[in-house]
């Protein structure tokens, strides 16, 4: 969930009202926002960077940090937030956005070479903008928030904004070999080519994360003006030449993308939120973007879509019973202008503005009605049908056995499902490669390399962490291990196991054996004797985890279901245990 920081006094001025922190928090809560923190620039610097020296000069103006839902891009800056809240409070109507046709449109031509790396581009112009320091900062911050969220860290979309008066259309979006691109990057003085640029920014705190998006590509995307001035090298950096400043009047906005839908949303969002600062408020100058096939598309789209929703369905979905005109009012407060269809009293005509790209289905409209109505005002009801509940049999058996094993004097542990390769391999004297283990591709630490194939390591770690406890320590766990299994749907399956260890001054094989006997007794499984077909028994086995001659397979109806034995001293040593242990581990699934 993105968080934006806005100056409180600016916010209240724009909202036309001063709130207490609590009042503002309540307003946020009702609208689906969260006032995350009340702070100052000074506090943020001190807290986040511990930079007391820098903080000393920082402002002490109160800043509200507000959590914005991930789909509401239109609220990611002060301008959008204020409009959204004022509309929600019914103080203003949602703004309408208009195109102003210039004498000659700006043109951006997409070269076929861009298909190799970043095939889409859209553009727009904002005319006669007046920037203040605050609105300029907000403009930069908005681009950053969009980059971090909907643009997926610039992989899907990258935004470039330029002082149109410093450049000359038509513009050309191309993809060229890195060494052929030469320009002075934003806020630099030296000209770099594409290769030098990658080196130059390799250690840059913010920009280095974007380099891999294009670094290894044979061609880099680049936008030129008519005089071959570089506007930007998306998604890394703009050129210094066309940078915007407080004096900038006319802004050229380009978005390059690998996802066209997102590029259109981003462009719409920027122009909608910042056309507020144009001399002619809420107006935008369209641009022609010439596609590789020669056709030309006009951007931004700023499409207003009309959805028709049934009043009856909307009420039924939420569980309220409000008249059509009330629902229309509620939607209008949610930035979705609505009116009752003159011909059909059950139908609302809802206008989805270009700021509300998150509305893609009637259910999104229902939600906005519910929010405007107030979630906490909705009448509570209960589903009418009844159902005879069923437990999942494996879980039911697990619950019953847990209780019984604890009654037999064992204490339950709850250990981690993920562990290191060594935990199930080397430390147990086993070869990890020979195991049907599920391996994690992107572990952040050694603790999360594999999914456990045995419950034993977790119990041994619990023993070590509790060495101060008096002996004997008898632990158990009934939980799942995961085994790779080619024939299963996802190539792996869980197996529910019971594992118990006895840790004492002597290994005490008979203790875990006794537990096995008890569990089998509870499961009505007899000790197999002679030629009987049914029952459980122990069959001597060799396993490097266990002491030679002190290990057996647990057999049930002549199939191996687990192991029992005295742990090998090298295993104890690997887990830093100094007391002997015996263990039993077997699957309980045959007994469900």
């Amino acid at each position: 969930m993105p968080t934006i920081g806005v100056k409180r006094d600016l916010l209240f001025e724009a909202l036309g009202k001063k709130y207490t922190d609590d009042e503002f928090q309540d307003l946020c809560f009702a609208f689906g926002l969260e006032l995350d923190e009340v702070t100052t620039e000074k506090q943020m610097l001190t807290k986040e960077q511990g930079d007391v020296a820098a903080a000393a000069d920082a402002s002490e103006e109160i800043i509200y940090r507000i959590d914005i839902p991930a789909n509401r891009y239109d609220l990611l800056c002060l301008e959008g937030l204020v409009t959204g809240l004022r509309v929600f409070q019914g103080k203003v109507k949602p703004p309408k956005f208009d195109f102003v046709e210039p004498a000659q449109r700006q043109v951006l031509k997409i070269a076929p070479s861009t298909a190799q790396i970043r095939p889409f581009a859209v553009a727009a112009v904002l005319r006669n903008v007046t920037f203040t320091q605050d609105s300029y900062n907000s403009f930069i911050d908005l681009q950053d928030k969009l980059h971090q969220n909907i643009c997926r860290k610039r992989t899907l979309v990258a935004i470039g904004t330029h002082d149109l008066d410093t450049i000359q259309g038509p513009f050309s979006y191309e993809a060229l070999a890195p060494d052929q691109i030469k320009f002075v990057p934003l806020n630099q003085t030296r000209e770099l080519n594409g290769i030098e640029l990658m080196d130059f920014y390799a250690t840059h705190a913010q920009l280095k994360q974007y380099l891999p998006i294009i670094r290894d590509s044979p061609v880099y995307p680049v936008i030129y003006d008519a005089n071959r001035v570089v506007l930007s090298l998306p998604p890394i950096i703009n050129g210094d030449h066309s940078k915007i400043s407080l004096k900038t009047k006319n802004v050229f906005i380009e978005c390059t993308a690998t996802d066209l839908t997102k590029a259109k949303v981003v462009l719409d969002t920027i122009v909608c939120l910042f056309s507020e600062h144009c001399a002619q408020k809420f107006t935008v100058e369209p641009c022609d973007v010439v596609q590789t096939d020669g056709t030309s598309i006009s951007y931004p789209e700023l499409a207003v879509r009309e959805e028709r929703v049934s009043v009856k369905r909307a009420n039924a979905y939420i569980g309220i019973n409000e008249p059509a005109n009330k629902l229309a009012d509620m939607l209008t407060r949610m930035y979705l202008e609505a009116e009752v269809d003159a011909k059909d009293g059950d139908t609302l005509k809802v206008k989805i503005p270009p700021t509300r790209h998150d509305v893609i289905h009637a259910c999104d409209i229902y939600e906005d009605i519910a929010i405007a109505f107030g979630y906490n005002n909705i009448k509570k009801s209960l589903p009418a049908f009844m159902q005879i509940a069923k437990q999942f049999p494996l879980n039911k058996l697990t619950e019953q056995l847990r209780e019984q094993v604890a009654q037999a004097g064992f204490t339950e542990a709850l250990t981690f499902t993920l562990c290191s390769r060594d935990d199930i391999g080397l430390k147990l004297n086993k070869d990890i490669e020979a195991m049907p283990a599920v391996h994690i591709g992107n572990p952040k630490t050694l603790e999360f390399q594999v999914v456990r194939t045995t419950l034993l390591p977790g119990l041994l770690k619990t023993l070590v962490a509790n060495r101060k406890m008096p002996l004997p320590l008898k632990l158990f766990e009934i939980s799942d291990v995961v085994l790779a299994a080619a024939n299963s749907e996802v190539g792996a399956r869980n197996e529910r196991r019971l594992c118990a260890v006895n840790c004492n001054k002597s290994a005490g094989f008979e203790v875990v054996h006794g537990l096995l006997d008890r569990v089998m007794q509870l499961l009505s499984v007899p000790w197999k004797t002679g030629n009987a077909n049914q029952g459980y028994y122990l069959q001597a086995a060799e396993d490097p985890t266990y002491f030679p001659g002190r290990c057996a397979h647990v057999m049930f109806n002549n199939a191996v279901i687990g192991k029992i034995g005295v742990l090998h001293p090298s295993v104890l040593q690997a887990f830093e245990l100094t007391t002997p242990c015996s263990a039993v581990e077997f699957t309980i699934e045959p007994f469900v």
């Binding site: 689906g32 979630y375 009801s381 339950e412 994690i440 996802v490």
Partner: protein, 497 residues
Amino acid sequence: MHPDLTERILQHLDAVDKVDTLELATQFNVDHQKVVGALKSIQAHGDLVNAETATQKTLGLTDEGQSVVENGSHEAIVYGLVPAEGIPQAALMAAGGANAKVGFSKAMSQGWILLDKSVNPPLIRRKVDHIVDNVKEQLLLVVSGRAQLSARDVTDYKKRKLLQETTTKSFVLSKGPEFSTTLTKLETDLTMDMLTSGLWQQLKFKAYNFDALGATPTRGHLHPLLKVRTEFRQIFLEMGFSEMPTNNYVESSFWNFDALFQPQQHPARDAHDTFFINHPAQSHKFPQEYLQRVKAVHSKGGYGSLGYGYDWKLSEAQKNLLRTHTTAVSARMLFKLANQEGGFKPAKYFSIDKVFRNETLDATHLAEFHQVEGVIADVGLTLGDLIGTLYEFFRKLGITQLEFKPAYNPYTEPSMEIFCYHPGLAKWIEVGNSGVFRPEMLLPMGLPENVNVIAWGLSLERPTMIKYGINNIRDLVGPKVDLKMVEEGPICRLDHV
């Protein structure tokens, strides 16, 4: 222990009512410690005697004091060494030995001797003809126990290290409630032998100390978090919810994300948030027609939706991962519900099982935790039904005040964060998420258009930590858990506030 000593003490007490153990030691001519030992033995048999501690300070001679008693005080010795004709000081000191110096100055201050400087070398002469050695006399009295020394004298002799004060602890004995002149051995416990022989009727039993703790029962223990899991299961079962089979930690991206209408570029699908599996890396078995419908709704929309308008890739859906939520299982169950024989029937499902997130770990976040999930599917369910159900569910957890906040979730619309008022913490805290599953998730599964599905989820760990006041999740889950905490934990009664 001298067997007779205990009885001698008791008999003596019978006659005198009150006696000090020191006095008994003198009288019986035995060491005081032995008397005390006998007393303990008597006390072990019951309340035969009352014993009050008493301390006595007695004066005794030091070794130096002893020599004074035998040989006279240092000053008297010095006086004795001075002949009538006098003696040079050096010779006197040599004759007087180690204590001559002390003796000389004391004899001088007593006025017994004088220093005659009229001759050369000066001589020590007697000043008086006769002396009385008071120090020796007084010390003799101390030895005989008849001393009546003034406090000043005592201080003075202590300073001169002639006397020392010793503190003796003793007991003043009197008859107790169970006084008897003979000792009967008290029995500690009723035994089988006593029952068989009938002897229990004659035996005396030792009084119990009801203030002591009982013996610890030998027992095993259930883990506190899993006790809470049991309680949650119970609540769902009481509410008529059937349990979902969640024993599949490895899941395909398809069921974990795509089936839930979570777009392939969604941040949750980042390697930063999700554990992807490189062995077995991919899943291949999907219900093909359903998969095509999912692909269509993501990329082109349908069912009244615009979709996300992007190029949906099978390869993304095939990627195996550790499930990030049990909602992946809910999706499987809903798909089954839509396609079961006889068609859709209303259903209530729940699950409580582990989920995995490749997140940054801190005091309250682990890479794996338990998710509690409830799902209801029926024709015409409303948001009001969800709110009503949540109130009933949380009431069973002892929570009665709820508030719902609008939220965003890719697969529910409307979405609500659940907040509850915690009287202990005196504030509103977020306890879970809920919502109505999107039609883009349900309709491709084949569920009828008028069926709505409401669902909610919360973690098992968070309410448990709040309930038991645990601040670090590692104190609750994993191998570092203190088994003492496990052993001492109460039973789980969530509605018992």
